[in-house]
Symmetry: C2
Subunit: 337 residues, 2 copies
């Protein structure tokens, strides 16, 4: 299985690391021998038709910041689209940074790969939140596999879970804490009685919140995930602009203290159903699965037969997110081999 990785940030590097780590495991458990035939970043690409070396990819990126400095097989300046045209491959792993204005360049990468009959795995929320139906129908008309488990909740397996494990159930709604940064901030505020501003700046110092925290704290990131869940699990053809979004930046220490007195917590909850598409701060009961702390993500599927089923997992992390990409790669391999 020949793989092209577009984008070599935290997730792309995680994929290279995981494919290296799991080489023997994949061979013995699935008879799968994945080869990374090309990797791109802003600097250009590294291309080798019989497989690049995972460790050397990571070392090159770490030491020079440029994947195009890969010894002997680096190609400075080449574009990702050009790489998709000229390199022979089976599966595209699209992990360029998420853009929520037009979903580019990921959208074009994914469509190009599909048009050439290639399977696609992505963690990129942008094109999914803006153009889900276009991508899904391109996958269908080109008869390729399109998997994106890592786009929602990182290592919390929710999409494949809903499709495979609850096969006999109709899923009526999804309800979740889908952003680790805001869950961390709200948990700390509840525990310490601290203000939003103070807690955010501490989270930034610790590297948990980004320097520009806008998409996380204003609920945009969670809203993208709600769109993906609504399309993929509930078959609702919605996009980001259909979601009603309110973030956590106006939540005060006082309101959290008041809730706590009643045995309640304030959490940033995303909801998708035929009637509601929403991200907003809500009250949850202590002792419910939604009372989890830290950067954990949680999602509950309300089903007709199994009642509520909940999954909890790490919403982020390089290797954790890469593990979801790997499980998508394995499921494509099972279909193709």
């Amino acid at each position: 299985m020949k793989i092209i990785i577009l984008g070599f940030g935290a997730v792309g590097q995680g994929v290279a690391r995981v494919l290296s780590m799991k080489e023997d495991y994949l061979k013995s458990n699935y008879d799968l021998n994945p080869q990374i035939v090309a990797v791109t970043d802003r600097s250009g690409a590294a291309i080798k038709e019989d497989g690049l070396d995972g460790e050397l990819l990571l070392k090159t990126k770490n030491e020079t910041g440029k994947i195009s400095s890969y010894p002997e097989y680096g190609v400075p300046g080449v574009s990702s689209l050009k790489v998709l045209e000229e390199v022979e491959y089976d599966c595209l792993v699209e992990v360029t940074p998420t853009d929520i204005d037009d979903g580019e360049p990921a959208r074009s990468h994914i469509l190009k790969a599909m048009e050439e009959g290639k399977d696609v795995v992505t963690s990129n929320k942008g094109p999914l939140a803006l153009s889900f139906q276009e991508l899904a129908s391109s996958a269908q008309s080109n008869d390729v596999e399109f998997k994106f488990e890592a786009s929602v909740g990182g290592a919390m397996p929710i999409l494949n879970f809903a499709h495979d494990n609850l096969a006999g159930c109709s899923i009526e709604s999804i309800y979740g804490i889908l952003n680790g940064t805001t869950n961390y901030i709200l948990s700390r505020m509840a525990k310490e009685g601290s203000s939003y501003e103070q807690t955010l700046s501490e989270a930034q110092e610790m590297g948990i919140a980004e320097t520009d925290p806008y998409q996380d704290v204003e609920g945009i990131d969670a809203a993208c995930k709600i769109v993906i869940l609504a399309n993929s699990v509930l078959n609702l053809p919605v996009t980001l602009k259909d979601v009603e979004v309110e973030g956590i930046s106006r939540i005060t220490a006082e309101s959290i203290a008041l809730a706590k007195k009643e045995g309640l917590l304030i959490k940033l909850i995303g909801e998708a159903s035929a009637d509601a598409l929403e991200v907003s701060p809500r009250l949850v009961r202590q002792g419910s699965p939604f009372a989890v702390e830290g950067t954990l993500n949680v999602a509950t599927l309300k089903t007709d037969l199994a009642d509520d089923v909940t999954v909890v997992g790490k919403g982020a992390g390089s290797v954790e997110t890469a593990s979801a990409i790997l499980s998508d790669i394995i499921s494509i391999w099972k279909i193709r081999k």
Copy 2:
């Protein structure tokens, strides 16, 4: 797909109900048309080669207590083994009561079906906790499917989840609240400061704890599930006698109050790993996924790549448990069709 249901208590009736409810859904989503060709209980059987009526099965059982009173097609006194010999079928659904001394009669039913090349779905913990390896190797040598999602945690999908959704990960250990009755009792004790004896008797009045609560409160039920998880997910060839078990009957209101002061809760936790096979009361942190209340079940899989992944769901309930059986039936259908 011709199905025989052995045992027509809460779970068996749930299966009949769910197959009726989901007739159109199964047809349109999976092109699956399941027919219940025989059902047995202590009284005998109902047998009809072109399919029994689900509603009439439930009505007959409810009104007469005997499935052998099924109009026209009732067969009083016939044994389950005889039914397996004489009725043509594709898949056995074994849902007779769990026996943890010798696993019978379920063990014999399952082996007989396998030897005749039939697929088997069961919720019965007895034969799995006592003879897992025997059953698994019989399934393998007879080349049949053997699924038992409903045996652990009812509607909490954990077995198929571990096998399918975490395909790229090695699972190192499993840690869980696997018994709803004890979780209910411990949650109430923590909330109300009540004694074990008082809380148990209230739970019995409400029908949450059984009249003979021994297997639940002494940890035997949870230990059976730990054995199934250890065999199925971790490939450890263990049986019930290998589990170190301590129940909750000696937990005092005082120790719960003391834990609560430190932000901790006492839960009955089962653990399976290469180093430990154990059910015992342990301290968990408030705000962790293990702090869930009521009759919920929880299981955490510790993985190499995805860190901890947790599933929460209803551990019991007729329709809930039947939904897990239905998802097993669907996955067998996908392989066979």
